[in-house]
Amino acid sequence: MSATSKSEAIRVLYMEDDAGLARLLKKKLEREGYVVDVAADGREGLEMVEDSSYDVLLVDHKMPVHSGLEVIRILGWHGRLPPTIMVTGGGNEKVAVKAMKLGAADYVVKDAEGGFLELLPLVVDQVLSQARLVEEKRRAEEELRASEERYRTLTENIPVGLYRTSIAGGGRVISANQAFAKMFGYDGVGELADEPVVDYYVEPEDRTLFIEKVKAEGEVNNYELRLKHRDGYAFWGSISARAICGADGELAFLDGAVRDITERKRVEAELCESEERYRALFDRSLDWVYVHDFEGDFIDANAAALDALGYEKSELSSLNFTSLLTDDKIPLALETAKEIRETGFQKGVTEYRLRRKDGTFIYVETKASVICHDGEPYAIQGIARDITERKRTEEELRVTRDELEERVKERTAELTATLMKLGESEAKYRSVVEQTQDGIVIIQDGSVKFINRPFAQRLGCGPADMEGRDFTDFVAPSARQELADRHRRRMAGEDGPSVYESLLLRCDGHEVPVEIGVATVQYEGYPAALAVVRDLTERREQEKIVREQRWILENVLNNMSELVYIVDPDTYEVLFTNETAAEALGPELAGQPCYRAIWGLEAPCHACELERVFTGERDTYTREAFNEKSGRWLRVNAKAVPWLDGAQVCCAVATDISESKELEEEIVAHNRALNRTVRERTAALQGKNRELESFAYSVSHDLRAPLRSIEGFSRALLDDYGDRFDAEGRDFLGRIVNGAVRMDRLINDLLTYSRLGRGGVAYEVVDMNELAAAAVEELAESIKAQGAYVGVARPLPVVEGDRSLLLVVLRNLLGNAIKYRRREVPPEVKITWSEEPDKVVFAVADNGIGLDMKYQNKVFDIFQRLHPEDEYPGTGIGLASAKKVVEAHGGRIWYESEPGKGATFYFELPRKRVEGDDGGG
C-alpha cells in the first residue's frame, strides 16, 4: 500500500489554510513515502498546479480566495484535474457530493479525533489506483480505436489488393479492399461484384492451375501471372493466397493478396538487360574485369583477364590475387582491398607487376570498387589494363617528357598568345587581313567576292572596283585559261595543286608574277576558293641579282689564272675545281682524293696542309711544291671555309710560281756567288790590311832608326865638340837635331793615324767623365805648364763607343784647346754636352786664339796646319785623327770660332751603333 520507489514517488499537493493541520498531514504522508507540497490557499494551490504536475490533490474546502470546490471546478474546466480528494469538515457531505460531481475522486471527512489522518493514505492510494485503472482502460480503448483505424487505413490504402474469392464457376469476389479494385481499374469495391474472377486472368487456365496449386499446398506465395485490367491491357501480378475450406473440408474460398508487379517486372527486365550488357562488357572487354572477395580469392574474371594471365576459367576459383603479385606489392594490395571495403571504392589507380601462369611478368593498372549485395559489401570488382607496353615506353617518354614539356610550354604560350590575339575582336582580325602584305582573295562562282585592300592596291585598284568582277579580269591573258580551269575543277571537288605560280594583271596593264596558295572554304554557306597571293616581283628581282652575281663569280673563278679547288677535310675528296685547275690538272677531278687529283700521288702528301688548317694552327697555310701533274711550281694557299651545309672544308688557291721560282734560284745562285766574292774580297782586304800594318810598322820602324842616328850624333857633336863651333855652327847643328826630331814625330803620328780604326770600332759602354779625366791626366804636364783649367759644366753622359779611340779624340781636342792659347790669358777649357733624340753632341770650348770659320774643311785634313811649327808645335795630325775616329763612330766633327775669341769644337756621337765593320779586321 505504500508508495513505490523514489523514482516513482507520488507527488501530493495539499491545499489547506490550517497550517498546523497541513503540517501534520504532510508529515503523515511523507512517512508513507509521498512527496507533499502545501498550498496555503486556493490561489496558491492553483498556481502550484500550474507550475508543476501532481499525482494527487488534497483540497480543503474552506479556504480563502478560492474554496476547494472552486479549485476543483476551475481545474476541471481547464481539464487539468489530477485525482483529487476533497477534505471537508464533518457534516458537509453535500460539498463532498458536489465535489465528486465536479470530478473529485473521493472525499475525506475531517473528524475531530483525527482518525481521518490514518485514513488519508489509504484513500490516496485508492484514488491513485482507481485513477490508474481508469487511465489504463482509457488507454486500451484508445489503442483499440487506433488499431481499428490503422487496420482500416491499411486495408484501404495498402497497395496490395486483398480479397476473398469463391471457387465455383468463374469465382466471385466475396470481399476485397480498395486497392484491389483500383488495381483492376475499378473505382470502388462495389463495382467488382459482378465480374467473374476468372476474367481477371489473362489466361483462364492460369486460374485453374493456381487453384490446383493452392488446393495441393494449402498456401501459395508470390505466384506470378498476367492479369487483366478493366481497360483491357495486361499487367503482371503476384498472388499469394490461402485456402479456406468449408465445413465439408472442400475448398470454399481463397483468401489472398495480389500485387501489381509490373513495375517490378520492368525493373527486373531492365536489370536483366543491364546484366546482359554488363555480362557482354565483362566478357568482351579488352580490359580485364575481375571479382574477388575480401580475402583475395577470385570469384570471377573475364576472358581478357584469363587470357592475359594464361589461366583457364576453371582454375580461377583456386586462385588468390596474392599468388599473382610480387612479394613487395602484397601489403599494398591488401591495404587497398581494405580501403575499398571501408570506403566503397579505390582512390586512384594502382600499378602491379603480375606473374603469369608461365612465370613471365606483365604490368597492369587496376581500379576497383566494392560491390554490394543487399546493401552489404560482399566482393571487390576491379578493372585492370595491361600496361606492360606502356611501362616500356614510359622510360623513353620520361626522357623526352621534359623536352616536350618545354615545347608544350612554349607552344602553349604561343598558342595562348595566338588565342589571345584571335580572341580579340573581329575588327582586329579584319585589320590583320587588311594589313598583310599578301593578298587574300575569296572567289566564288568565278567572281571576286572579297579582296583585301593591300593587295587590291597592289593591283592598282580599289577593292570595290574588283569585288563582283570575274577574277580572270585580273589574270594575265597567258594564264587565264589555266587558272579558270583550275578554279572550275576545284569547285567541282577535284584535287589539284594547292600552291603554284602564275601571272596576274594589274589594272594598268602590267603583269605581276605571283605565288598562289588556294584552299576550298565555305563562304556564306557555299563553297568558294580562298587564295593567298604573294607578289613574287621582289623575289624575281633577287633571283636575277643572284643569278648575275653567280655569273660574275663563275666568270671570275674560271678566268682567273690561279687554280682553285675545294677539298673535304675528312675524305680528301675534291668537291670543286675551277676551270683553270681542270686545264692544268686534267678533267674529272671532282670526287677523286686530292692527293691523286691534284698531286698525282697515291697517298696523302707528307706536308698535307689539311691538318694544319683544321687543327687551327693558323688561318691559312701556304706551301710551295712542284706539281708533277702540271709540271709547274705551285704556291698553294689553303684556308678553312664554310661549305654549303655549314661544315668546314678546305679551299685552296694555287698560284703558278714556276717563273718566280726560276728567278729565285737565279737570285740564290747570284747571292751565293756574291757572298763568295765578298768573302774572297774581305779575305784579300784583311790580307792587305795585315800587309799594310806590317808595312807601316816596319816602315816607321826602319825610318826612325836613322833619325835616331842623326839626332844622336848631332847632339853628341854639340855636347862633346860644341865649343869648337861658333854660334852659327852650333845653330846649324841645333836645326839638324830639330829636323830629325820633327821627322820622328811625323812618322810616329802617321803610324798612329794609319792604325786608327783599323781594328774597327770596339763598341763598349764608355763613361765620358772617366775618359775626360784620363785625357786630362795624360795632359797633366802641359796643363800645369800652361796654367790651364779644364772643367765640366755638368756630368758627362755615358756613350757607346771605342774607349781608346774616343780617348784620342778627347786628348787631341783638349790638347789643342790648351796649346792654341792667347799669350796673355791662361787657357780655360770647358767641356759641355747636349742631347738630341738620336745622338749626343759634345763641345770643347776654349778661350784661346780662335780661328777663321773658312778653314772648316782644311783644318781636319792630315798634316794641315794653320800656324808655323815654332809658334805652336804640332804635326797637324790631331784633328785629322779626331775626325777619323768620330766618323768611324758614325758622327760628325766641326767647330765654331772667331779669331781672337776662342773656339768651340763639336763632335757628335750617334746613340745607335753604326752598322759597319764590327770586328775582324
Binding site: R704, A705, S709, A740, D744, N748
Partner: protein
Amino acid sequence: MDANEAVVLLVEDDADDAKLITRALKKTTLPARVEVARSGGEAVAYICGAPPFDNRARFPLPVLVILDLKMPGVDGYEVLKMIRAGRALHDVPVVVLTAVRDAFSVSRTYELGASVYFVKPAAGRGFAEVVREIENYWLASQEEGEE
C-alpha cells in the same frame, strides 16, 4: 887588359845606335869596358868563347848584357835563350834595349828570362836617359847581390 875587369856586353847590330849607347854608357858608373857584338851570332860566339873570342882572359864573361832584339840572323830572343840556358851567365843581368815596344814582344822577352826591358828613345831624347835607368837598375841589382 885586366882579366878581372868587368865587361858589359852590348849586343847591337846598328852601328850608330851602338856608338851612341857606348858614349852614353861612358858617362855612367857602369863598368867602363864595353864589348860590342854586332850580331846575334857574334854574341853567341863571345859567350861561348868561340873564336875570335876564345881567349877568356882577353874576353871575360860580361857582368851585364845589354841586348837588342831585332837583329838579322840570330836575333835577340835566341841570344837570350842561349844566355839563360848556360850555367855561366845564368844569373847575369840582361837588359833588353830595343825599338820594339809591343806587348807580345815584351812578355815573350820576360818569359825567356830578360831582367828588364827598355825601349830605345824616340828622336829628340837621346840615350842618356834610358842609360841612366840601366845604371839605376845595375846599381840596384849589385846591392841585391851583396846582401
